[in-house]
Amino acid sequence: MLAAFGITIVIVLVGLAVWGLGLFAVGRSPNRPFLIAVALVELELLVYAAAALIALAVDDGAESSAPLFGYLFLSLVLLPLVARPGAGDARTRWDSATIAAVCIAVAVVVLRILSLQ
C-alpha cells in the first residue's frame, strides 16, 4: 500500500518535472496551474511521510531509521524552498527549470525511501 503510494508520487513528480521543463523550453515562468500541482504533490509527500513514520513506529525498524528520517526530511523541504511562495512576478523561466530539477531530486529521494522499506 505504502509502496504503491510512493511509486505514484514518483510518477507524479516525473510528470511535474516534464511539465516544468516544457515551461522552461517555451521560455515561461511557472504558471498558476503548475504551482498548484506542485503544492498538491507537496501535500501528497506530507501524507506519505506521516504514513511512513507510522509504519516505522509499528514495525519497530529502529536500525535503519536514521537515513529514513533524513530522506523524509529532504523530501518535504526541497519543493517549498524552490517554489518560492510569494515570489510572484519575480519568477523567471529558470524557476521552471529549477523546480523541474528538484522534482527529479525528490523523486530519487522517494525511491531511496522505498528501498529502505
Binding site: 529532504l74 524552490v82 529558470w94 529549477t98 531530486a105
Partner: protein, 141 residues
C-alpha cells in the same frame, strides 16, 4: 551595497546553486552516516564522498552569494570536482579493490545518472562566459 535577497543570482546561477546544494546535503549526509557506522569498510570511498560533499557545498555557497571572489572560488571548486570525477571514475573502474563501496564519483557518477560528471562541465561552461563574470562582479558587496 548591503547584501540582500537581490544579491542572489537569477537564472542558471540559481539552478546550479540548488542542484549543488542538493548534492552537498545528500553526499554529506550519506558519507557522514557511512563514516559513523563503518568507516573501516571502505575508508577511501567514504573519505572521497565526504570530500565531494565539501566541494559541492563550496560551489553551492559561491553560486548563492556571487562576488568576484566567489566566482574564482567556484571555478576552482568545479575544476577540482571535474578532475575528481574523472580520476575517481577511472580509478574505480581500473582498481575495483580500492572501492568496496560506491562514492558519488565512482564510475563517473553512474549511480547518480552521470549528473556528477555533467554538473561541473555545465557549471564551468556557464562560469567562463564573459557575461557570467560580470554578473558575479555586479553583486559584490
Amino acid at each position: 551595497m548591503s547584501r540582500s535577497r537581490d544579491a542572489t543570482l537569477d537564472g542558471p546561477g540559481r539552478l546550479l546553486a540548488v542542484v549543488y546544494a542538493i548534492f552537498a546535503v545528500s553526499a554529506g549526509a550519506r558519507s557522514a552516516f557511512q563514516i559513523a557506522s563503518d568507516f573501516s569498510l571502505a575508508p577511501l570511498a567514504y573519505s572521497l564522498s565526504a570530500f565531494s560533499a565539501a566541494i559541492y557545498l563550496v560551489a553551492a555557497l559561491c553560486f548563492w552569494w556571487p562576488s568576484d571572489r566567489s566566482w574564482s572560488l567556484a571555478v576552482g571548486a568545479l575544476v577540482v570536482e571535474l578532475a575528481g570525477v574523472i580520476a575517481v571514475g577511472a580509478l574505480s573502474l581500473a582498481r575495483e579493490d580500492l572501492f568496496p563501496d560506491q562514492t558519488v564519483w565512482s564510475e563517473f557518477g553512474i549511480g547518480y545518472a552521470f549528473v556528477p560528471l555533467a554538473l561541473p562541465i555545465a557549471g564551468l561552461l556557464w562560469l567562463l562566459r564573459s557575461g557570467t563574470r560580470r554578473e558575479f562582479s555586479a553583486r559584490n558587496d
